[in-house]
């Protein structure tokens, strides 16, 4: 089973989670409402997937592991973008961060890039739980397996800047993730988030 950071994993209940310390009370509640965990950018350890649990408050995040055997369904950001679930709901028309999805969809189609929503928007589209608020940003990941010229990144960043909310876009290279905005500035080195932790890289595509 191949998982990547930002994938959403559906599981049965909080007892499946492996954590070094007792689960806070809110974790049990959050899992009861929406049994989904977000894959963290860290190595899989002995078949246990590094995941995070989202709580109702902004600073409520709990890091744990989920055994592969406990995963009932895996939903990737790219699948969520392909399904375009936001076009079928009223919230998709009302909530700014959900309305902004069409901006990203159009720009990424023009540039022929695979993309998908992450963060609260990805979580809402996967779980159906209305966690996106009027203040939410739109987090997206863009999968770019081959070198992307800075000029192209700048065009995409320009497209995104016209959206109704701030778009926090991460470019996923084979080595890890970089910020679209930072890469579009053209200054090197830039921060690359790898499975082993963050590093400064002059070329985020070169291993």
């Amino acid at each position: 089973m191949e998982v990547r950071a930002h994938d959403l994993l559906q599981f049965r209940d909080a007892e499946d989670l492996i954590a070094p310390r007792p689960l806070p009370e809110w974790v049990g509640e959050a899992v009861m409402f929406a049994p989904f965990a977000v894959v963290r950018r860290a190595p899989v350890e002995h078949g246990n997937i590094p995941v995070g649990i989202r709580g109702p408050a902004r600073n409520q995040r709990f890091a744990a592991f989920l055994p592969q055997s406990a995963v009932m369904r895996q939903i990737t950001p790219v699948q969520l973008a392909r399904q375009r679930g936001w076009r079928q709901t009223l919230r998709g028309k009302q909530v700014k961060a959900l309305r902004a999805l069409d901006f990203v969809d159009e720009s990424c189609r023009t540039h022929q890039l695979l993309w998908g929503p992450a963060g609260s928007v990805g979580f809402e589209l996967a779980s159906g739980l209305p966690v996106v608020s009027a203040e939410s940003d739109l987090d997206v990941v863009i999968r770019v397996p081959y070198f992307l010229p800075v000029g192209r990144a700048r065009q995409i960043a320009d497209d995104f800047s016209r959206a109704p909310v701030r778009i926090d876009a991460q470019i996923e290279t084979p080595r890890g993730a970089i910020s679209l905005l930072e890469y579009a500035r053209g200054d090197m080195p830039i921060l690359l988030r790898t499975l082993a932790g963050p590093v400064l890289a002059d070329n985020p595509w070169e291993c």
Binding site: R58, N59, G119, D137, D139, R166, D168, S179, L181, E182, D187, P189, L191, R193, G197, P198, V199, L200
Partner: protein, 98 residues
């Protein structure tokens, strides 16, 4: 939102200024400027409350290894200590004209 300030003694004058990082979840923005006084002052604005002591430790470790008299402004959006340390190193590199 929480704001706090730290001061550490410093001796070496910083050459240039630097602005690195991004406004985005799990990241931070750092503005680094030379200071004429023999100290480094760090002002941190963060949405994640209750991590003041962790910030002090991360900054102390970095500034012990890198003696620079500077004014540092940090706008934090939930960066991990690893990201904070790398962004500080990046800001220092940029200010030295690399």
């Amino acid at each position: 939102m929480e704001t706090f300030t730290f001061e550490f003694p410093a001796t070496k004058r910083l050459q240039g200024r630097a602005h690195v990082g991004v406004v985005g979840s799990g990241d931070l923005e750092i503005l680094l400027e030379p200071s004429t006084e023999p100290r480094t002052r760090v002002v941190i604005r963060t949405g994640c409350t209750g991590f003041q002591e962790k910030w002090r430790l991360v900054l102390e470790r970095f500034l012990t290894a890198n003696d620079v008299a500077a004014d540092i402004q940090v706008n934090d959006f939930g960066a991990t200590p690893g990201v904070v340390t790398l962004r500080l190193a990046q800001a220092l590199e940029v200010s030295q004209g690399r």
